[in-house]
């Protein structure tokens, strides 16, 4: 039973003539990790917002098709109801901060207070996510005194604390260093194993190639590919459409290094196996 069903989703922002989303259909199974990629203005952020209902309820505009997430028809239910089951981490962490709280700890508590989570449970969850995202040491700082990377981790933490059934993240690692990026990807992969469904828009395609179950490629508001990373990144048409692919895939494509199933490697590990064999040596 799919946890996300999107059927012929069409959407146009107010006062715009071109659709931002143009006939998108896909389904996601529980516990899957879906990566959304594509050039800017392809509709990645709009699709993320459509999964929690900010599109169309907050932005208005004209919408068509059907979006059902965690059992709720998003177009027929208010955001306040959808967000109890579906969490969204905004592209800009500055947008996510409530502005009503003066410490990192209280900022994480903000969403939980609104959901009426009992105090003991709140404390347990806040402590957990602050440790998970390496924010425990800065828990008493003002959110706006954090570095860009710390604030981005706080944005992720405050949504994770809500334990949504479906977690939607819009470029959650753009300001993070490689170690911080790994932390977020590891946390998200672990949560998937525990049954949470994750949808992440991200430009770091080599990370998605390693971790995501399926990749959805958007281009000018349309879904042009949806499948396992190797299958999607092996498509010949992506580079010409301005869609980034992992550097190792690009290199293997140019060298004609294919895996037995005809796809190109998308991770360093896969490329080392094929490349070592292709060079007839024993790679280190």
């Amino acid at each position: 039973m799919a946890v996300i069903e999107v059927e012929n989703l069409r959407y146009r922002y107010p006062q715009q003539t071109e659709p931002a989303l143009d006939g998108i259909s896909f389904t996601v199974e529980p516990g899957e990790f879906i990566g959304i990629i594509g050039p800017n203005r392809a509709g990645k952020s709009t699709l993320c917002q459509a999964l929690v209902g900010l599109v169309p309820h907050f932005y208005q505009g004209s919408i068509g098709g059907r979006v059902v997430v965690a059992g709720l028809d998003v177009h027929r239910h208010p955001v306040s109801e959808v967000c109890r089951r579906v969490g969204l981490v905004f592209q800009s962490p500055f947008t996510q901060m409530s502005g009503a709280k003066f410490t990192v700890y209280d900022e994480v508590a903000f969403g939980l207070e609104h959901q009426g989570v009992p105090r003991d449970e709140m404390i347990r969850r806040i402590d957990h996510v602050l440790h998970l995202l390496g924010l425990w040491e800065v828990r008493d700082r003002n959110p706006f005194a954090l570095s860009g990377g710390q604030m981005q981790r706080l944005a992720v933490a405050s949504v994770l604390a809500l334990q949504p059934q479906v977690l939607v993240l819009d470029e959650p690692t753009s300001q993070l260093d490689p170690a911080g990026t790994s932390e977020v990807f590891t946390a998200v992969t672990d949560l998937c194993r525990q049954g949470m469904t994750v949808v992440m828009a991200e430009h770091k395609v080599e990370r998605l190639a390693e971790r995501a179950d399926r990749i959805l490629v958007l281009h000018r508001g349309k879904c042009i590919a949806y499948g396992p990373p190797r299958e999607v990144f092996s498509r010949e048409d992506l580079p010409g459409l301005g869609v980034a692919i992992p550097p190792v895939t690009e290199a293997c494509r140019r060298l004609g290094w294919r895996l037995p199933d005809g796809t190109y490697p998308v991770t360093v590990e896969e490329a080392v196996k094929i490349g070592g064999a292709a060079r007839g040596g024993n790679p280190g």
């Binding site: 594509g38 050039p39 800017n40 203005r41 952020s45 592209q91 800009s92 500055f94 570095s147 860009g148 990377g149 710390q150 470029e171 753009s174 300001q175 993070l176 260093d177 490689p178 170690a179 911080g180 990026t181 430009h203 080599e206 301005g242 869609v243 980034a244 992992p246 550097p247 190792v248 690009e250 290199a251 140019r254 060298l255 360093v268 490329a271 080392v272 490349g275 070592g276 060079r279 040596g281 790679p283 280190g284």
Partner: protein
């Protein structure tokens, strides 16, 4: 053309919590990338270069002038800084006004300021949005507006704090072209970034920051083939460099092109 000398610079926001702990280096025209973990002091360091922050010990000399002795407004003619968060920088309600603000403050006549602003917007690929409100643009474009705002000031030193945030493949390439263009004109370009492919492709010198100190200072080729240094700083080489190292290539490769050339060249 400018020279920046940093002499034993220490800095803290809160006494007892050091952020920079004794940095000494000289930056001459060319391209410099600063890499390191969040909290290593990178953004703080660049704010010392244009005088927004002053060292608590040591000194920063921009063309021989101690940053403590001149105003930020004066230094802004030499060192242009693009902030990490565009919302910290944008304040006008029209893109063109925003980008003209710097040149107008340098006392340029309006028509000249407008010409510079249009040229800067063209360079970052933002033609056609001149009359929009910056806040109606997406994050990636908003960031490019701030880059244009600093380009329009035509400063000898341009500092870009995380320029590639939210940029797609073409956006990163366009920023790379801006970096190369500035370099060709003898400018100094300093960037802070977590995008190692961007560093490998467009920057000659790499500074690795860790806990308020410079852990390593060398060419991109030198730094990215020293996994132990990168690991100590919580970093990783570009993916293609990792592949080259794992396959035992005798030369370090920093880009897909170099990798393919090394393989087909039989090295």
């Amino acid at each position: 053309m400018a020279e920046i000398r940093v002499e034993d610079v220490h800095f803290h926001y809160t006494p007892g919590v050091p952020v920079l702990r004794g940095i000494s280096l000289t930056i001459t025209p060319g391209t410099v990338a600063i890499i390191g973990q969040n909290g290593a002091g990178k953004s703080t360091f660049v704010r010392l270069l244009n005088g927004l922050l002053k060292p608590v010990r040591g000194r920063v000399l921009v063309d021989g002038v101690d940053t403590r002795t001149v105003s930020v407004a004066t230094l802004a003619r030499t060192v242009g800084l693009v902030f990490q968060n565009p919302s910290d920088q944008l304040f006008r309600s029209r893109v063109l006004d925003e980008v003209m603000f710097g040149p107008l403050n340098l006392k340029l006549p309006a028509d000249q300021a407008r010409a510079r602003a249009r040229e800067a917007l063209r360079q970052v690929g933002l033609e056609g949005v001149e009359d929009k409100n910056p806040y109606d643009l997406g994050l990636a474009e908003r960031k490019l507006v701030t880059v244009a705002g600093v380009l329009a000031m035509d400063t000898p030193v341009v500092v870009l704090d995380e320029p590639t945030i939210a940029q797609d493949r073409d956006g990163v390439r366009r920023l790379g072209e801006v970096v190369a263009w500035l370099k060709a004109r003898g400018r100094t370009v300093i960037t802070i970034t977590h995008d190692m492919d961007f560093v490998a492709r467009y920057f000659e010198r790499v500074l690795v920051f860790q806990a308020g100190q410079v852990l390593a200072d060398g060419t991109a080729g030198e730094i990215f083939t020293r996994p132990e240094v990168l690991k100590a700083a919580g970093l990783e080489p570009p993916q293609i460099t990792q592949l080259g190292l794992r396959l035992g290539l005798s030369v370090p490769v920093l880009t897909v092109e170099e990798f393919v050339a090394a393989i087909t060249g039989g090295r």
